[in-house]
């Protein structure tokens, strides 16, 4: 009984402390903004499997990779030559072709013998946003919104996994280096020097060239390199500060083993900083993946970077705002989610770092 009571009391205390911390966190407007962004994307990421499982969305139509929704219209073939605008039909060059028309140059290469005035069955791909596809479809008739959701799954898996791996490694190595010092420390520091010397982006190019690199492979790689690099040094300096705290000395005097001191005293006190680092490194991981996908170096089925890459491969990216749904949502998503995590980190730092706290 007593045990249970105590446990529930402990839990209550935990909940209280979480509540209190959250109230503190609420102070930081930027942190809250970041959290909201992260939650929105988190919601998107979870929403898609839900829609598929409940059959609200049909996989054949909405699947982000192999889904296909043919939207056909009957279109009149017209010629949008560079003539003086406005003409009776069109006000500006961008009005031609009109909604139920198709430019002859766009279809002629695939339909030899087509003439102006023909009425043909035309697929609208990419289709602009509609009630069925709220962000339209891409050039392969796939739902952009669904892709965006799939992309957030990828971003979360990749970002969080690599952050956890990276921070796990750097926390472990950082505390070990701080606690043991001497040759272990020297070795670990040289190792992180070495990793810091490797240029990030070219390194990722190399790694992406290896066979069969899946998202979680990339997450591991990013995590390992991130974890071995600069953050070891930061975590180590934090651990060094904890190491000389009197409570660690107390434990040593009492005869606590090294392992125990490391795991129960130093690690928990380094953890907040590590957590902060984790939040920040999510940002880097998302950006890295997007850039690799964008450059077409990453062989995965779907991601935000890839969405832009595909839009670019078909030549939609330098069209200004005309095909905005192919370019803007994915680009914004990368920016927003990465920024969201960053804002959360900033907010945490502002509120919980006593050196930064305002009051």
């Amino acid at each position: 009984m007593n045990e249970i009571n105590e446990k529930s009391e402990l839990r209550k205390i935990r909940i209280q402390s979480i509540k209190r911390n959250f109230n503190l966190f609420k102070q930081s407007k930027i942190g809250i903004l970041g959290l909201v962004i992260v939650f929105i994307f988190g919601f998107l990421a979870l929403l898609q499997p839900f829609l598929f499982m409940t059959n609200i969305w049909d996989e054949a139509t909405y699947h982000p990779v192999v889904g296909y929704d043919s939207q056909k219209i009957l279109a009149t073939v017209v010629s949008c030559k560079d003539i003086e605008y406005p003409t009776p039909e069109y006000k500006t060059p961008s009005d031609c072709p009109a909604a139920d028309e198709v430019n002859i140059v766009a279809v002629a290469p695939y339909n030899p013998g087509i003439k102006e005035g023909d009425v043909i069955e035309q697929f609208i791909q990419p289709a602009p946003p509609s009630s069925k596809h709220i962000l339209g479809t891409d050039s392969l008739g796939r739902d952009v919104f669904s892709q965006l959701m799939e992309g957030s799954q990828v971003a979360f898996v990749l970002g969080l996994l690599s952050a956890i791996v990276g921070v796990g490694i750097s926390t472990l190595l950082g505390t070990i280096a701080a606690y043991f010092g001497g040759t272990v420390d020297a070795y670990l520091m040289r190792q992180s020097d070495l990793v810091l010397m490797l240029p990030t982006l070219p390194l990722l190019f190399i790694i992406s060239a290896f066979a069969e690199l899946k998202v979680w492979h990339l997450a591991l790689v990013l995590g390992i390199f991130g974890g071995l690099g600069g953050s070891v040094i930061t975590i180590k300096s934090q651990a060094l500060q904890v190491k000389v705290k009197p409570f660690v000395d107390s434990a040593r005097i009492t005869g606590g083993s090294r392992m125990k001191i490391l795991t129960s005293h130093i690690l928990p006190n380094v953890a907040p900083l590590a957590l902060l680092y984790m939040v920040f490194s999510v940002t880097g991981a998302i950006a890295s993946e997007s850039i690799l996908s964008f450059l077409g170096l990453l062989n995965i089925d779907m991601s935000w970077g890839l969405m832009i890459s595909v839009a670019q491969a078909d030549g939609y990216i330098n069209q200004g705002m005309e095909y905005w749904w192919l370019v803007i949502p994915a680009g914004l998503a990368v920016t927003l989610l990465a920024g969201g995590f960053y804002l959360v980190g900033r907010g945490l730092d502002d509120v919980f770092n006593p050196r930064l706290r305002r009051r």
Partner: protein, 319 residues
């Protein structure tokens, strides 16, 4: 000599400090330069001196936090009933040593792990030494909290250090220190960061516990007034050396060494009517002579009062 609890002979601790940013050349700082003292059971010895004189280093070397450079430290092993050196100690004896020597730190804010509850903090030594079963441990913790005046104990068990005040924290520190009933506790200015009104209650608590639990203290402070309140004997330390050691009142009434005199003269008196005598001494000269006579012996001038013998009169400047 076996009536001593701890015997320190010629304890030396040197630090290597790299003095240059680029070259990595190392300088040796002699933080503790051959000090000796004994502590009997139930006695508390005050170690007094200015900051940087080696008080804390001595304490850390004594409880094996930092390895000493040379010298010997013997402690009384209550199970074997004999004095044992802490060098080359076997594991069993080390365990006994660990159980019998503890330290209280200056800063109540830093000396408790902020991520642990009070219960965990006090329980840690019991866990490490595997004393009693879980229920017994629980019981011991409640008891010790009561002993240090944190009542009712249940209110404190599940709280975190940041939820209680500085005085209470220091009580928790004391509880943690005493939970294994050690024979010898090193106190490194445990009250200097507390407010006056709380300070006395902590000091009283420590004095009471010393009697109750038969604990000896090595009490480190720079304030002779506090040392007087807490200690039977006082050792005055200067630049890594003990220059004078005597019973408290003897030392205060009859200081011999100029440094002791200077120290006593600088303590403000809470009485506006009283005007202190002021001494000024030539610290550099004194430092030099102390450094130049590393093997200086202490002489007993009676009343268990020992003074370093170097000729020091000339460094005393009357003011």
């Amino acid at each position: 000599m076996s009536d001593n609890l701890i015997e320190v002979r010629n304890l030396v601790k040197h630090f290597e400090v790299s003095n240059s940013f680029f070259s990595g050349k190392k300088n040796v700082v002699k933080a503790v330069d051959g000090i000796s003292f004994n502590i009997k059971p139930g006695e508390s010895l005050g170690l007094v001196g200015q900051s940087g004189c080696g008080k804390t280093t001595t304490a850390r070397s004594l409880c094996l936090l930092d390895p000493k450079t040379s010298g010997s430290v013997n402690f009384f092993n209550p199970e074997k009933q004999l004095m044992e050196s802490i060098d080359n100690i076997d594991d069993d004896s080390l365990k006994i040593f660990r159980r019998n020597i503890q330290m209280i730190f200056q800063d109540p804010y830093e000396s408790l792990n902020p991520r642990w509850t009070i219960k965990d903090i006090i329980k840690e030594p019991l866990d490490i030494h595997n004393i009693g079963n879980l229920a017994e441990r629980e019981h011991t913790i409640v008891e010790i909290l009561r002993t240090v005046g944190l009542t009712p104990p249940e209110n404190y068990l599940n709280r975190y250090p940041h939820e209680i005040s500085g005085g209470q924290r220091q009580r928790v520190s004391i509880a943690r220190t005493l939970v294994m009933k050690p024979k010898f506790v090193i106190c490194d200015e445990p009250t200097s960061m507390l407010d006056v009104s709380i300070r006395i209650s902590i000091m009283d608590l420590m004095l009471n516990l010393a009697k109750e639990l038969d604990v000896s203290y090595l009490y480190i402070t720079h304030d002779l007034a506090v040392a007087r309140y807490m200690c039977n004997r006082i050792a005055v330390m200067f630049n890594g050396k003990i220059v004078e050691i005597a019973e408290t009142e003897e030392l205060l009434q009859n200081p011999i060494h100029p440094y002791t005199k200077r120290l006593i003269s600088s303590i403000p008196i809470p009485d506006p009517q009283f005007v202190r005598e002021r001494y000024e001494i030539n610290f550099e000269g004194l430092d030099k002579i102390v450094r130049d006579n590393p093997n200086e012996q202490m002489v007993d001038i009676g009343n268990n009062h020992f003074v370093a013998t170097h000729e020091t009169k000339e460094y005393l400047i009357e003011s």
